[in-house]
C-alpha cells in the first residue's frame, strides 16, 4: 500500500490562500488505511476549513483516486458542486492528486505527502520493504530486498558501517545484509550469495514508467 501522511494544516491553508470555495476529495484505499485521507479525515478537514471561514462546496471519498476512469465517473456525479469550486483539496497520494489535475480545470491542492510503498505491520505502523526498482532480486536474496533494506542499496554484502547487526544510518535499524545472510544460512542456501550480483540496471527504473498489459494476457 502507498503510505502517506497529512501535511501541516497551516501549510495547506497557505496554499489555498485567498480562495474560498473548497471541494475535498478523499481516497477509500491507501489513504484510508493510513488515516491520512479517509472519510474521517475528510470530515475533520472540512470542519477545520469551515472554522477558518472557508466555504466547503462538497466532499467525496473515491474508492481509489488513482483509478482515472472511476474517478471521472465520480466527478460527473459531483458536477454541480465542482462547478461552484475554486480549489480541489485532494487527500490522496501523489498519484491520486494527478488523477484530479488531469480531469479538472480547477486548481488542485495536495493535502498529503506520499512516503513509500509500505507493508502494514500492525494498525498504523508501516514499513518499507519494496522500492519498486523494476528488476526484482528477491529470488536471489532469500526473499529480503537489499535495494530497500540496505540504506545504501548495496548488492554484494554489508558495508563497513554495520555494527552488531545494525545500520550506520540508524542504530535502531537492522542491517539488511545481515538479515539476508542469516536467512540464507538458516535455509542452507548460502551458495546463492557467492555470485557477484552485477550493477543494477537503472534503465529499468526510468521515469515516468508505463506498462500496457494486453487484455488477452489478463484473461489467461
Amino acid at each position: 500500500m502507498i503510505i502517506s501522511q497529512q501535511k501541516p494544516f497551516e501549510e495547506i491553508l497557505g496554499i489555498i490562500g485567498e480562495k474560498n470555495k473548497v471541494f475535498i476529495i478523499g481516497c477509500g484505499l491507501c489513504a484510508t488505511h493510513c488515516q491520512s485521507g479517509g472519510e474521517e479525515q475528510v470530515l475533520e478537514m472540512k470542519g477545520r476549513l469551515l472554522r477558518e471561514g472557508k466555504d466547503v462546496t462538497g466532499h467525496v471519498v473515491i474508492e481509489a483516486v488513482c483509478h482515472i476512469l472511476n474517478s471521472k465517473k465520480e466527478f460527473r456525479a459531483k458536477k454541480a458542486e465542482l462547478k461552484n469550486t475554486e480549489v480541489i483539496l485532494v487527500m490522496a497520494c501523489g498519484a491520486g492528486v494527478q488523477t484530479v489535475s488531469e480531469l479538472q480545470k480547477i486548481q488542485v491542492v495536495g493535502a498529503l505527502d506520499t512516503l513509500f510503498l509500505g507493508n502494514v505491520k500492525r494498525f498504523g505502523q508501516f514499513e518499507e520493504r519494496c522500492s519498486l526498482c523494476g528488476e526484482c532480486l528477491l529470488n536471489k536474496t532469500g526473499g529480503i530486498c537489499p535495494v530497500t533494506t540496505c540504506s545504501k542499496g548495496l548488492l554484494n554484502g554489508p558495508c563497513g558501517g554495520m555494527s552488531d547487526g545494525k545500520c550506520e544510518v540508524d542504530p535502531e535499524r537492522d542491517c539488511g545484509w545481515v538479515k539476508i545472510y542469516e536467512r540464507l544460512e538458516q535455509l542452507g542456501q548460502l551458495e546463492d550469495l557467492e555470485e557477484i550480483f552485477a550493477p543494477k540496471d537503472f534503465s529499468k527504473g526510468t521515469k515516468p514508467a508505463a506498462l500496457v498489459v494486453e487484455r488477452q494476457e489478463v484473461k489467461k
Binding site: 540504506s151 545504501k152 542499496g153 554489508p158 558501517g161 552485477a198
Partner: protein, 298 residues
C-alpha cells in the same frame, strides 16, 4: 620500489593517510605529506571522509605525485555514478596515480550534507570490477545489453591501476563481512587495508582466511590519543573494539598520547609476523606517525 612491487616482493609495507582540507588552503596537508615522505611507502588520501565535503582526493593525489610521494587514491561510490567513477579513474591514471583504494563510502546522512542524494549506483565490489575492465582497456558501456559485465567499448589508452579494498576484520557478525571480503578478492582486489585492529588473536584468525584467498593485507593501526578516545571508538565506531587492557594501559600512564604511540608501535611489530604491512591512521596527528615508526624501529 613501488607500493605494488613491495607487496609483490613480500616486503613489509607501511602506509599512512592524510585528509584534504575543507577549503583551498592545502599547505597543512602538503606539510603533513612532506613529513611522511621517505618514511612510509605510500600515502592514502581520503575521499570526502565521513561524508564530509572536502577538497578532492584526486587533486590531492596528483599533488603528492608531483612531490615524489606515491599516493593511494581513495574513491567512494557515494558521490559518483558509474560514468563519473570511470572518468575519475581514467583521470587518475593520466595524472600518474596508480594505487586505488575502493570504498563504498559512509552514507550522506552521517556527514555534513545529510540532505544530499546518496549515489551508490554501484558498490565497491563493482568498482573493483570496473578497474579490472579499465586495466584491460575497456569500459563498462555495454553493461546494459546482456546483464553481465560484458566487453564494453575499447579505450584509447588503458589504465594501469593497482586496485585495493577495505575489510573490517573485527566486524560483528563477521561472516557476512567475510563473504564480502572474498567477493572483493574475486572482483580483483590485490591488497586490503583494514579497519583498525586491536584484537590480535581475532586478527590472526582473519589472516588465515586472507591467506586462503591469497591476497595482501595491511593491518589498520589507529593511534589512540587518550583513554577517552578509546572509549569513544568502542561506543561509536562500527567494527572497532579497543580491549580494556589497552584502555587501562593508557589510564595508568601520565602521558596517554605517549602510551598510545607505544601501543601502536608494539602492534606494528606484532603485525610483522602475520600480515603484509600496516596502514597507520593518526587522524589529525600526522606528525605522530613518525614517532610511532621511530618507536617501532622502522
Amino acid at each position: 620500489m613501488s607500493f605494488q612491487q613491495r607487496l609483490e616482493k613480500k616486503e613489509f609495507t607501511i602506509t599512512a593517510e592524510i585528509g584534504p582540507p575543507k577549503g583551498t588552503d592545502v599547505s597543512e596537508m602538503l606539510k603533513n605529506a612532506q613529513r611522511l615522505k621517505g618514511r612510509v611507502h605510500a600515502v592514502n588520501v581520503t575521499d570526502n571522509q565521513s561524508a564530509v565535503m572536502r577538497l578532492s582526493s584526486l587533486a590531492s593525489c596528483h599533488m603528492l605525485v608531483e612531490m615524489g610521494i606515491e599516493p593511494i587514491f581513495q574513491i567512494t561510490c557515494r558521490d559518483r555514478n558509474r560514468l563519473a567513477l570511470q572518468s575519475d579513474l581514467l583521470s587518475a591514471h593520466a595524472l600518474g596515480i596508480r594505487n586505488v583504494l575502493t570504498l563504498t563510502g559512509d552514507h550522506t546522512q552521517v556527514g555534513d550534507h545529510p540532505q544530499a542524494k546518496p549515489v551508490f549506483d554501484v558498490d565497491s565490489t563493482h568498482l573493483l570490477q570496473i578497474i579490472q575492465k579499465l586495466n584491460e582497456g575497456r569500459d563498462l558501456s555495454t553493461q546494459f545489453m546482456n546483464k553481465k559485465l560484458s566487453d564494453g567499448t575499447v579505450l584509447k589508452g588503458k589504465t594501469q591501476l593497482f586496485p585495493g579494498a577495505v575489510v573490517c576484520p573485527e566486524a560483528n557478525p563477521l561472516k557476512p563481512q567475510l563473504l564480502r571480503f572474498s567477493k572483493k578478492v574475486t572482483a580483483g582486489a590485490k591488497f586490503f587495508q583494514t579497519q583498525a585492529v586491536y584484537d590480535y588473536e581475532k586478527f590472526k584468525e582473519f589472516m588465515k582466511k586472507a591467506r586462503e584467498l591469497n591476497t595482501k593485507v595491511l593491518a589498520g593501526i589507529l593511534l589512540l590519543r587518550s583513554p577517552g578516545m578509546a572509549k569513544y571508538l568502542n561506543k561509536n565506531v562500527p567494527g572497532i573494539t579497543v580491549p580494556d587492557v589497552l584502555i587501562k594501559e593508557m589510564e595508568s600512564s601520565s602521558q596517554p598520547l605517549k602510551a598510545g604511540v607505544k601501543i601502536a608501535a608494539r602492534q606494528i611489530k606484532q603485525m610483522q609476523e602475520i600480515c603484509d604491512g600496516v596502514h597507520i591512521m593518526a587522524i589529525g596527528l600526522e606528525d605522530k606517525v613518525l614517532d610511532i615508526l621511530d618507536e617501532a624501529g622502522m
